[in-house]
Symmetry: C2
Subunit: 340 residues, 2 copies
Amino acid sequence: MRRRPTIRDVASASGVSMGTVSRVAAKSSVVSPETRHRVEQAMRTLGYVPNIAARTMRTNRTKIVGLLLPDLANTVFLLLAKAAERLLGAEGYTLFLYSSERSPTREIEFLELASRYRMDGLIVSLSDETNQSVVEALSKMECPIVLLDRDTPIRADVVFSEHAEAMQRVTAHLIELGHRRIALITAPLGIRPGRERVLGYRAALRDAGLGVDEALIGHDYQTSKYGFSKALEMLRRPVPPTAVIAGGDEIFYGVLRATRQLNLAIPGDVSIVGADNRMLSDVVTPMITIIDRDMEQVGDTAADMLIRRMNGEGGEPVHVHLPSEVILRSSTAKPRPDVV
Amino acid sequence: MRRRPTIRDVASASGVSMGTVSRVAAKSSVVSPETRHRVEQAMRTLGYVPNIAARTMRTNRTKIVGLLLPDLANTVFLLLAKAAERLLGAEGYTLFLYSSERSPTREIEFLELASRYRMDGLIVSLSDETNQSVVEALSKMECPIVLLDRDTPIRADVVFSEHAEAMQRVTAHLIELGHRRIALITAPLGIRPGRERVLGYRAALRDAGLGVDEALIGHDYQTSKYGFSKALEMLRRPVPPTAVIAGGDEIFYGVLRATRQLNLAIPGDVSIVGADNRMLSDVVTPMITIIDRDMEQVGDTAADMLIRRMNGEGGEPVHVHLPSEVILRSSTAKPRPDVV
DNA sequence: GGCTCCAATGAAAACGTCACCATTATATCA
DNA sequence: TGATATAATGGTGACGTTTTCATTGGAGCC
């Protein structure tokens, strides 16, 4: 296997110095048109490809941005990733995608990777903001970081999504339809979305003067399996809920499977509210009422904030809050008069 | 911002030479237990993190493997990626995930990236094996490559999935149930799975002595939108098909949406066969008959082949063929007697 | 014509690591 | 005891790039 041509080979082939070749390769400073043309010619014939590792050594910049997500199977995160990649790519950054599979161990592995490869910046969605060692590892990072929707003591920019208010609205809507036993299954309280959703849910019940049945709230795991078993358990109670709100993608899957297992009609037997996954909500019969947010906007915002920081912009950490939307569709309706 | 500690700082802090520190960092050769301990101590107090770029310069290995996929939203590819990552990670490789979004331009961008970063190996799933410039760029790469399920003139290892036979079996099954107008919507003929599926489909019809109605075969795009519009068009014909086979994940989504739009009962009005997406097939009512393959096995196989090549194993390109499975469930049944 | 100024290019050092070779200390054996 | 093998460590150059500083040649000006 022959050696890859270097800037030196290109230099001697085109009769200029290495400095000039570098200037052509980086498209940076002034090179006369004739020289530029001659050098580019030589690059093409030799098949020269710049060596990023060497460039990194010299410049201390990798032009790599790491994106840590809890889960790649989740459509919302992919939308976010795509949006962020678009903006970062325009600035010459390459996006390195990593899924923690909701494992703190893997989150730390990612940070280790980011350190070793000297990534220029990170966008991070944690699976558990209460995990001490992850938070500590994160705060020790030397590059700019943008956090996604988490409350931590880390001094970093954060993009928040609004959850409580949307949850309150959709719960109020169910109450207005006549529902009195509304179940909520959502993410653990160890992450902000879980907490906020429960807050909004409780607020709606309180506003309506209704008590909260703690047995109708589940927030243990953010998995399809948990959504399934918890929904099954609730819907099998002697006096089952007439509506189930699923907070988060995986749980939504699980809840749907449970209603099917029990052969329940939606919304005849039970009203269902999902979250985020427009694709699934569109294909399931009937169309599902969902709490939706613009994940592209989240990705754009995060990328934009990160780019500023990587360009050396200083100042206090910035917190941005983005809205959620309730999209009412046919999976939510009045409960059967006999079951209320 | 202070300078990151280097191997030199660790050396002087622990009173040994840089060479020894390097030996400790790389866990490679012999270092006495006491020295190792002292060096590791110094690394921890200084917060030393090895610089991969510098290592790469020296060793000519990045320990990065690129994985090019047409689409990250597709569950099957994620299973594959996860499996490959597990095996490669055990060998110290980091997986760099890239989605081409089925765009040849992005595929070339990926190869460019792989060249510049000097990735050690690639696993590649092309979106169109007939695209000349992509094939050319691919054949110019200097690192080992494993191709996924594509026929190209490139001298590289390939992991094939079996499609024709499974398609033939499931088509035969529908015929046996009494179906005579069976539609097939699948990937373009520009990629192997599309071609193979059409072959298997035709073979089953031929074996049963049935003619092929070309209007019931669609293979133009591998998108949900295409699946939707094509299924809609077919199912609205004066004499519609009694069964629809969807080859590929996105198309499957589209077909499902079409049946819902037309308010068709599955399998009452039309039998449906899906492919690959177990998650969706599980959540939709009724459970969908699918053609399934073990994508973890595909990922494992590809990673294993690549690791061998990266370790310098020579020899002719290896082609592996892996089976597909037909899982019969309740979305396929006898057609209504009156419509046959 | 002599001066300054600027554009274009060249020369060389430095980034952090590893691998080779050299050196030293220690163990082994005849 | 002396010779030799072995284990552990030190010293140093090179990987390919960018960037600073220096140099050159020519244009513009008085």
